[in-house]
Chain length 375, copies 2
């Protein structure tokens, strides 16, 4: 039995779209699938829907489990469920795998109907704007005209932010968590090292590794190890791992010595076996490209002008990937536009990963905000 | 003609040692070479010598040039020379390439006299302690009983610090710049990602790539790209590169788009052609291992108890690799021991690299300190 606060056993669904989608790059996807999950009940006037947008390596499995014995619930299970901050007794919550993903939605590993082979290097780059467009079509297919809430952490927060600009009439509340209005040069630099690790792995085969029955494990492993460092704070790494040695002594070689090495290599290995390298590349590019001011040129407040939603913006003190300062830029621009915005900088040692953690203060802030959201 | 503030054209020298050196790991080097340069004149009582210890990718070429047309002076040429903060009109300055290096001193790429082949994977790991021992032997060979100053930035500062503990009677002044008493878990994590990039490069051949007439360029390039990010501050990256696009528009592919990508890849490529991968591995391990408290267990002040030198400790505000906080740990421990210590936290946007930059305040602090150092 799952606890009463769990949405229980869930089953992913697939929506197939046959209206061609013209992407930001100019490329066209003639048709595509989006895999998604829903939790809770959509009410009669379809006004209680919440869209949860995922981050770099996330997917549609936000909450619940796939079987009674399933030890690993969805990635935001601590946030979404009956009586949880995002309360599925009141709201109808949708999680989806973004286009270009590797968990069921059409992506680089999917079969290209034209060639009968995996897309691989032929899969077009997709952007936050493209995701929002595909999410809007999914909403249309479910008959949802307006979301009560669109929310996300990190890259997910960027999608929520873009929704508020692109479809202001379709978003009543926008929750932007541990996010940023655009990447800094340092953010892009980390992403590019990760990409170069994958792109230069001999097993990448220019993105068409599927045909070679291999995967660029080395590159993907390095990308994940590096990513992990940037998700954690220096402090939490220090308190969790410090300089502790696995064997208690130096062995003067290149095998694992420090606990932190063991942890990172394990995380890297696990990820390299399960995640698609082309999806990783594409997701980091979507991050790099996102910049609401890119076309309006300059001021974030100008770019956010169309937004009509109420906003909750949250940041975490030890997050150095998307530092609180970056969230404050969003808040400042929204205030310049006289938007209704709540903001909190939550004290946490967990770095960027804090947005996934069941921190009491964090959850009670989301819960308090959600109490004023009409369902 | 070189400017009057240059030490001019310099010629490296090689010292050959035949007394076996037993390393911290237990391995023994039966004989080895150290390549070094000197600037200025050693005075009659040999009391005006300064030892400059290098950091991860540094070498013996601290100052001056190799030819009249040489455009690239030594790596600390702005600091060392006639009338410069480290004034070669007063002092006799020694720069050496550390054991295990790849610029002339015995290292992994050197020929093992026993096999007639490059050492490669057989070259033992060396530590900061081993370097200090080999440096002490070089000093002995030059008849230098006591240094006026031993100094270094980053990993070089660790060597200076260890000198002050191991050979307190041989160091009058110790300059520890942009350094740390030991690495944090995050520091080790970054080093391990760099090492894994090299170790998993198929061209690494377990360290014996010389025999295969190749080098692990991909791995070394990634290691350097990553290193570079940690040497610079987020701010300086932002002001130098920002989100500027090379072609002015997104090209929706994985070729260079942002200027920061172009810069990092260029730095990585250049480094991968010139630096030895085994040396890189070994230097990062020396960094990871350094911890004066490792054997004394716990308190830095206990570990620093033997030190008798006067200290100048300098840190830079935007250095997040070895943050000012890490320098303050050293200062605090020295003060606990009632050592004479000067400390300054220098305002700089250049991150860790600031210690190599000709910042006016930084240089005037070193200059002022050096005025009280007897030659």
């Amino acid at each position: 039995m799952q606890p009463a606060s769990s949405v229980g056993i869930v089953v992913p669904q697939t929506a197939h779209f046959t209206t061609p989608l013209t992407l930001k790059s100019g490329a066209v996807l003639p048709s595509y699938d989006l895999v998604y999950e829903t939790y809770g009940m959509l009410n009669a006037d379809k006004s209680n829907a919440i869209l949860v947008c995922h981050a770099l390596s996330g997917n549609h499995h936000v909450a619940g489990v796939y079987a009674e014995q399933d030890k690993k619930p969805g990635w935001w299970d601590n946030m979404v469920g009956p009586g949880k901050p995002i309360d599925t007794d009141r709201f109808f919550v949708i999680g989806l795998n973004n286009l270009g993903g590797c968990h069921g939605s059409t992506g680089p590993a999917s079969i290209d109907p034209i060639t009968g082979q995996p897309f691989g290097s032929h899969f077009p780059l997709v952007t936050v704007e493209d995701w929002v467009e595909s999410q809007a079509r999914l909403a249309d297919s479910l008959g949802i005209r307006q979301f009560a809430v669109i929310m996300g952490g990190s890259l997910g927060g960027m999608q929520a932010l873009h929704w508020s600009i692109k479809h202001p009439e379709r978003v009543r509340h926008c929750l932007v968590i541990a996010s940023a209005p655009k990447l800094t040069a340092q953010n892009i630099a980390f992403n590019d090292v990760a990409r170069q690790a994958i792109l230069t792995d001999p097993d990448f085969h220019g993105g068409d590794f599927y045909a070679h029955d291999t995967r660029p494990r080395r590159g993907l492993r390095l990308a994940r190890m590096l990513g992990h460092i940037t998700y954690l704070s220096d402090d939490v790494m220090g308190s969790k791992f410090g300089r502790v040695l696995r064997s208690g002594a130096f062995n003067y070689g290149y095998d694992v010595e420090f606990e932190i090495e063991s942890y990172l290599r394990y995380q890297g290995d696990k990820f390299a076996e399960s995640f698609d390298a082309n999806t990783y590349l594409l997701m980091t590019k979507a991050l790099d490209y996102f910049d609401p001011t890119h076309h309006s040129g300059g001021k974030l407040s100008d770019a956010l002008k169309p937004a009509q939603a109420d906003f909750l913006v949250l940041s975490f003190t030890s997050d150095w990937r998307f530092a609180p300062e970056r969230s404050r830029e969003i808040v400042k621009a929204l205030l310049d536009n006289e938007c209704r915005v709540s903001y909190a900088e939550i004290t946490s040692g967990h770095g960027h990963d804090a947005f996934l953690m069941p921190d009491a203060h964090y959850h009670s802030l989301v819960r308090a905000y959600m109490e004023r959201v009409a369902s």
